[in-house]
């Protein structure tokens, strides 16, 4: 076998100068020739570490080998054996921390572009117009209610449908997808692709009910009177604040609100879509995770002259994916590192004008192993801003726990589950994703959904709790 090229086939992307003016996806996606060129870089390990690194156990060498051979139908079939949402995973998974991190080829240069190939094969199938359905087991006669139409709920539903159970998803918003629809911007994950994946889940026989808030219109106990089991995947939707002065001034948004307005409600097309959002000229995003990168790149596309990431630690500790930081830099994002906001200042009408910050320095490592940021006394300075987006994290959504007093929750309101099965302490009720783990990645929520689906299947088949 010839030695694989040390470099990945580069992904064609929109020019940064152009893409800051639109919400279209940044990468164009591999052509067939590019995908095949990349696919042959995979050396088809006998004991592939990449599969170990994949939260949803994709047979990575398997699907890549079929791409190399040009049998794309077989490739997507292999993919969907374990992953029902490849177009999403290929785009938003942190592959560099998972499959690609342990890729053997990476020892000789760059890893195989597994994520890019995953997105390629998913898009190839969509373009072909022929979506093949997997084998669905004969009907078990059992019914499962899935609460929440995000990654955990979608993954659980797909799997449960394949096991032969009748599944209905209850989603609170008017649109399916959870964070895939309201949170992740279109330039990273187009809404059409989310719709496509949701339609695939529907095609497996899953029923969908939107605008249905479990906990309000029906409780978990009421669902249990109609369904044999319930899966809760309601995510981490309760935004954190810093609780500093001025956080309620006009112009201060949570990332959830800012992104929901722009992505779910399409405020970027205002007034074609009628939901508004403040177009800031000087926008600061507080935090440096993936959500912060999404928000700052959104602000640039909404016309900000200056869009900054404000983060209390240094670049080394920035939690966002490298690719996101890279894209943000290309698009002109300004990084204000070692900077801690302590107070907002407004005009007499309550409109945000300035952000007061402290300079930080790094001290001894803290519990997370990262060097603790320590404020430098008297280093106060002000930054002019008209929009601030707080992107420092979310707690699990409290609605279900509040309306289900007998379900066991942890200190942060997370539902406590058995990791191996997704079982909660309440009979017939399972949970997974951010509602149980606290805020984590899309793919870890999908993994939790799949694990719970297996747990539910076993429970429904054996009747044993």
């Amino acid at each position: 076998m010839p030695k694989p090229s040390p470099k990945q086939v580069p992904m064609p992307t929109q020019d940064p100068k152009e893409r800051v003016k639109n919400f279209l996806e940044v990468p164009h996606g591999y052509t067939i020739a590019q995908a095949q060129e990349e696919a042959v870089r995979c050396i088809q390990c006998k004991n592939p570490p990449c599969v170990e690194g994949c939260p949803v156990d994709i047979n990575i060498p398997g699907f890549i080998d079929f791409i190399a051979k040009g049998d794309f139908k077989a490739s997507i079939r292999k993919m969907k054996e374990t992953n029902a949402l490849p177009a999403v995973c290929g785009r938003v998974c942190p592959q560099e921390d998972q499959c690609q991190k342990v890729c053997v080829v990476a020892k000789m240069g760059e890893s195989v572009g597994i994520g890019k190939l995953e997105a390629f094969i998913a898009d190839w199938e969509a373009k072909s117009g022929e979506i093949e359905l997997p084998e669905i087991k004969p009907s078990s006669g059992k019914k499962v209610a899935v609460v929440g139409g995000g990654p955990a709920g979608l993954a659980a539903s797909g799997q449960l449908a394949k096991f032969g159970h009748k599944v209905k998803i209850f989603e609170a918003l008017h649109k399916m997808g959870g964070v895939l629809s309201y949170g992740i911007p279109e330039f990273r994950l187009p809404n059409d692709i989310v719709d496509r994946e949701v339609n695939y889940i529907k095609s497996l026989g899953v029923e969908i009910q939107t605008s249905f808030v479990v906990g309000k219109i029906k409780t978990i106990d009421e669902l249990l009177s109609e369904y044999d089991a319930v899966f809760i995947g309601t995510g981490a939707g309760l935004p954190w604040f810093m609780n500093i002065e001025g956080e309620n001034y006009n112009g201060v948004y949570t990332a959830n609100e800012y992104l929901t307005r722009v992505n779910l409600m399409k405020a970027y097309t205002f007034p074609n879509h009628i939901t508004p959002v403040t177009k800031g000229k000087r926008v600061a995003i507080i935090g440096a995770g993936n959500t912060a990168m999404d928000a700052v790149r959104t602000a640039i596309r909404m016309g900000a002259k200056v869009a900054s990431i404000v983060y209390r630690r240094s670049l080394k500790e920035v939690p966002a994916r490298l690719e996101e930081i890279h894209h943000a830099r290309q698009e002109g994002v300004d990084f204000k590192l070692l900077t801690l906001p302590i107070k907002y200042h407004a005009d007499s009408q309550g409109w945000l004008k300035e952000m007061e910050c402290l300079k930080m320095e790094l001290g001894e490592p803290d519990a997370s192993g990262r060097r603790r940021p320590v404020p430098i006394e008297g280093s106060n300075f002000r930054i002019p801003v008209d929009v601030v987006v707080i992107a420092i994290g979310n707690n699990p959504n409290p609605l279900i726990a509040e309306s289900t007093p007998d379900i066991k929750v942890g200190k942060k309101g997370n539902i406590i589950i058995d990791e191996a099965t997704g079982k909660t302490n309440k009979k017939s009720v399972f949970a997974g994703g951010d509602i149980a783990s606290g805020a984590d990645t899309v793919v870890s929520a999908m993994r939790a959904g799949k694990i719970a689906a297996r747990g539910i299947d076993e429970y429904l088949r054996t009747g044993l709790w």
Partner: protein, 282 residues
């Protein structure tokens, strides 16, 4: 989600009876729904003015003041909403408070109806004060009359009832007697603020129902946050009822103005659209 009945209650004030068996089953006084008129619309909250479990219907009453409420007003019987979700928010705390004063201002009068019904059912002795700029804006008087032991009306111009604001009769009542178990008020923010200021020194429990701007309505976005005492609360999941003595009304008033400029822009667009539609039908 289908509109079964449409009724003009007053100028710019419309009532819809909507088929929604599931929401009707669960709706409690003080709760609200969120709706979208069409696919490109915004999500707005509206109080559930009445609900009927047996018929599977809910009523909403709205003032056609903004883009979305005006657009909503163009819908007719047989039309369906694009989306409807509820019942949201916490219900108003209902019990026998003894003597209570309920105040409604403007479209807030529609919002006090379900609370009046429930308080009456709980055995409260109710005095209701309705206020409006002028007599046409004092709505639903007959329905309120049936649910209250005593009714006082004020208008700014004196065209109906007493001339002046609701705080004048409220001031008289609580000067005469402080043994009111509850003052409940829904109306424009300045009215709720004035009422809360008045009852504070008398230490009379005062509940106000807030109308913050919302997006999801389920506690996810935080747009509707409001300072209650020293705490940050979300109107959609912690409210919409709050202790009037703790609400930072000035902040609320500022936050309600966030999208005023967008609203003007949207209204221009709507006027053009309506004009175009008319030309097309001619």
């Amino acid at each position: 989600m289908k509109i079964l009945e449409k009724k003009k209650i007053a100028k710019d004030l419309t009532k819809f009876l909507i088929s929604s068996p599931l929401i009707a089953q669960k709706a409690l006084p003080g709760q609200f729904i969120m709706l979208m008129v069409n696919e490109v619309g915004e999500r707005i909250p509206l109080t559930i003015a009445a609900s009927d479990k047996d018929k599977g219907t809910i009523s909403i009453i709205f003032q056609e003041v903004g883009y979305t409420t005006k657009l909503l007003g163009t819908l007719g019987v047989g039309d369906s909403l694009y989306s409807l979700v509820g019942p949201l928010g916490r219900a108003t705390e209902i019990k026998n408070y003894g003597k209570v004063i309920v105040l409604g201002g403007g479209v807030g009068i529609a919002e006090i109806l379900p609370v009046l019904r429930a308080l009456k059912g709980a055995g409260c002795d109710i005095t209701t004060i309705l206020g409006g700029r002028t007599k046409e804006l004092v709505i639903l008087v007959d329905q309120v009359k049936e649910l209250t032991n005593q009714l006082i009306i004020t208008t700014n111009d004196g065209s109906l009832g007493e001339e002046g604001l609701v705080t004048a009769p409220l001031g008289r009542l609580i000067k005469e007697s402080q043994d009111y178990g509850l003052v409940f008020c829904v109306g424009p923010v300045p009215m709720m603020k004035a009422v809360s200021d008045l009852t504070r020194s008398h230490k009379i429990k005062t509940t106000v129902c807030l109308n913050s701007i919302m997006v999801d309505g389920t506690g996810m976005c935080g747009c509707c946050r409001v300072t209650i005492g020293k705490e940050n609360k979300f109107t959609c999941v912690d409210g919409p009822d709050f202790d009037g003595h703790l609400v930072d009304f000035d902040e609320l008033m500022n936050r309600q103005r966030i999208f005023n400029e967008h609203e003007k822009h949207a209204l221009c667009k709507l006027d053009e659209q309506i004009k175009k539609d008319k030309e097309n039908t001619n």
